[in-house]
Symmetry: C2
Subunit: 375 residues, 2 copies
C-alpha cells in the first residue's frame, strides 16, 4: 500500500517534547517556541515570526493586523484552501475572487488590476505547491494602489523567488505579512500548526498583543511596562510548547527532508516527462523566477474523466492519489455573494488536478510502482 | 522554593504522544481527540464535546454558534480573564459588564436582571475557582427573557451544582454551551488547550462545521454526503493529536489528581481558618449548592496594602503567590465603551485577592511553610 502522505519523524520529536514537559513549562511562548521563531527569522530573513496553532490562525492575525472590516474588499484566488478566504471573511471582508493562471494554479497576476476598486484593502496570494507567484507584479500593484499584500505560504516553506533585481528572497518574506502551515501534510510539521511572519515592522508590536489575547503581556514580561491588561482585540493564537518542541525536531532535519523530497519530485518528473506527449496530463511548471520546494507533485489531467480514471486505477493498485480544491467562488457559502464572474482556470484545476503520493520514506520501488500505473 | 504552580505529569503523557506519532496521524480529530471527547461526554453528561486549541477558542465557537453580531449585547462579569469578554467582542458584541457577589467573586445573579435590554442575546457566567454560580437563578433569567447561557467553565472541571430540584449536575452541562480550559495552570491540562461543550442539541451539527474551518468535512467522513466544501464561517479550532494524547494521560489520573488537590485545599482551609478572626483576610466561601474542585486557593485580603505585604513576605521566603484579574470594565480597551457604572465588588476582588501555591506535588512541609508566613 502506498498512502498519499506519511508524516516523517526525525526521531527527536518525543525527546524534545519530554524535555519541554520536564521543564514544567508547556504552555505557549516558551523555549522551543522562541527557538523555532528565531530559526525562521534568521534563515529566511523574516523581521518577526510568531508560531500559531494553525495557518488559519496566522491568516486571521493578518486580517486583524490589517484592520479588515465590513465594507473592505480583499482579493483572493478562488483555487485555494478555504482558510485563505475564511480568515478575512471572519473580520467582515468581502472576498473578490481571482482566477488562476493558464499555465499554473497560482493567481493570474495580470488579471488582478481589473479587480481593484476603491474598497480594496489587500491582495492575498497563494504560492501553490510552494511555487512562487510573480511577486514583482504583485508588489508593483501594491505600491501603485496602496494595497497590503499577504502571502499565504502554507505550502511554501524553504522556497524562493528571484525578482527582476536579481535578489533571491524566501517566500513569505516579500509581502507585508505571510502565513505558513505546519499541518501534518506539510514538508515540516507538528500535527496542527502555523506561523505568522511580519515583514513590515509597523505590525510587530501589535502582533504580539493580538497573539496574547489582546493583552500587552509580552511587554510586561520584557519589563517595559509595570502591569499588563486588555488593550486590543485578539485571540489565543499561540501553540503549546508540545507543538513547538515537535516542530524543532523537524527543523533540525529540514535540509535532509528537502533534499529527499526534491529527489522524489525530480524522479517523478523525469519518468513522467517521457509520457507527456500522450496529452493525458501535463506536468507542473516552475517559472524561472521560482524554486521548487517539492511540497507536492501534481498532474493536470486533460479532463475530469481522465482524473477519475487515474485515481481509480491507482486505488485499485493500493496507491492513494487525491484531488483538491473546489472553486471557492462556487462554494455553498460564497456562491450568492460572488459577483458572477466565470473563473475558468480555477474551475479547470478544481476538476483536473490530481496529487501523487509524495513523502520522505518513498523509495525507488514506490516511485516506480506509481509510475507504472501512470504510463 | 515553592512555585505558584507546577504542572503535574502522570508519566504517561509522552508514551501516548509517542503512540499518536507512531500511528502517523497527529493532525486534529484523531483517536485521542475522540477518546477525550467521549470521556467527558459520558462522565459529565455533556451532549457533545469538541476539543479546541484553547478555552478562548471554545468561547469564540460559542459566540459564532449564537450568531452574535454587532448590535447584540452580552452580559459578562468584569472580574474574569480577558477571553470571557474578548471572544464575544471578536464577533462584534457590546459587552455589558456585571459586578461580582459580595461574598464570592462570581457574577451577582441578583443584579443581572437590571442589565437585560431588548438587545441582550446571552449571559456568560464564570464559575470562579471552579465554584458554581447559582445556575437556577441564571437559567430562570434565560427562560424568562429568552437568552442563551454560556458557562465559562475554564476552571471548573469536575465540579458540580445542585439545583432546587435536588439534582447534581456537572458544571458546563447546565447552560446552552460551555467552555473549559486545559491550560497548564488547570487541574488537568495539555499546555494550551480547551473544550467546547454543547448541551442544546440544535447547535451540534453546526459546531462540527465551525470547528473544521467552515466545511462539512465531518459529515463527509461519516459518509453522509459525497463531497465536502465551504458552507459556513469557522476557524481551525481543533488541536493536534499531540495535545489530545497528553490530555488523555491526565484524564486517566483525574480522580487521583482531584483527591490530592482537595486534600491540599482542605489543609490550607483548616489551618488558615484558625486565624480568620484576625480579619487580615477572609477565606473562600463555597455555597451549599456548589462543590469545590480545588482548582484554586485564594484569600480576600482586607485591603490592597495587606495583599502587597502578603505577596512580598511570601516572596522573601521563596514562596510565589500571585494576584489577578484587573477589572475588565476599566481596561484600556473597554473603559471608553463601558457605560460608566461602578462595579465595586469586582474592583475589590481585583485589588484584594491573592492566590496561594496549589499543585499536586505540594507536600505537608510545603503547606506548613506557606501557612507559617500567613499566620
Amino acid at each position: 500500500m502506498i498512502p498519499f502522505n506519511k508524516p516523517y519523524l526525525t526521531g527527536k520529536e518525543t525527546i524534545y517534547i519530554e524535555d519541554a514537559v520536564k521543564s514544567g513549562k508547556i504552555s505557549g511562548n516558551g523555549k522551543y517556541t522562541q527557538m523555532c521563531q528565531s530559526f525562521f527569522e534568521n534563515k529566511y530573513n523574516f523581521k518577526k515570526c510568531l508560531l500559531t496553532t494553525s495557518c488559519t490562525d496566522a491568516l486571521e492575525m493578518c486580517a486583524i493586523l490589517l484592520n479588515i472590516e465590513p465594507g473592505d474588499e480583499v482579493i483572493v484566488p478562488s483555487y485555494t484552501f478555504v482558510s485563505t478566504a475564511l480568515a478575512f471573511v471572519r473580520q467582515g471582508a468581502k472576498i473578490v475572487f481571482a482566477d488562476s493562471r493558464t499555465d499554473h494554479p497560482g493567481i493570474d497576476e495580470d488579471k488582478v488590476t481589473e479587480l481593484i476598486t476603491s474598497k480594496t484593502k489587500a491582495i492575498v496570494v497563494v504560492h501553490y505547491s510552494g511555487v512562487a507567484c510573480d511577486m514583482d507584479k504583485i508588489m508593483a500593484l501594491s505600491t501603485k494602489h496602496g494595497l497590503f499584500v499577504v502571502e499565504d505560504a502554507a505550502q511554501a516553506i524553504d522556497s524562493f523567488y528571484t525578482g527582476k533585481d536579481g535578489l533571491k528572497r524566501a517566500l513569505g518574506s516579500i509581502g507585508h505579512l505571510s502565513a505558513f502551515s505546519f499541518h501534518e501534510t506539510k514538508n515540516i510539521q507538528c500535527g496542527e500548526g502555523g506561523m505568522l511572519c511580519i515583514n513590515d515592522e509597523k505590525f510587530i508590536k501589535r502582533s504580539e498583543i493580538i497573539w496574547e489575547k489582546g493583552t500587552n503581556r509580552a511587554e510586561f514580561f520584557r519589563g517595559e511596562i509595570n502591569k499588563y491588561g486588555w488593550v486590543d482585540i485578539g485571540s489565543s493564537f499561540l501553540p503549546s510548547e508540545l507543538n513547538a518542541a515537535f516542530l524543532w525536531a523537524q527543523i533540525e532535519h529540514l535540509d535532509d527532508i528537502q533534499q529527499k523530497r526534491k529527489y522524489i519530485w525530480e524522479k517523478y518528473f523525469e519518468l513522467l516527462k517521457l509520457h507527456e506527449q500522450n496529452r493525458v496530463y501535463s506536468l507542473p511548471i516552475i517559472p524561472d523566477y521560482a524554486t521548487n520546494n517539492a511540497h507536492m507533485f501534481y498532474l493536470v489531467c486533460k479532463n475530469i474523466e481522465t482524473r477519475t480514471e487515474i485515481i481509480k486505477r491507482l486505488k485499485e493498485n493500493s496507491i492513494f492519489a487525491v484531488f483538491h480544491y473546489q472553486s471557492l467562488h462556487k462554494s455553498d457559502f460564497y456562491i450568492k455573494k460572488h459577483d458572477g464572474r466565470e473563473l475558468i482556470n480555477c474551475d479547470r484545476y478544481a476538476d483536473y488536478i490530481v496529487r501523487l503520493p509524495l513523502f520522505y520514506e518513498m523509495d525507488e520501488e514506490c516511485i516506480s510502482k506509481v509510475y507504472k500505473y501512470l504510463k
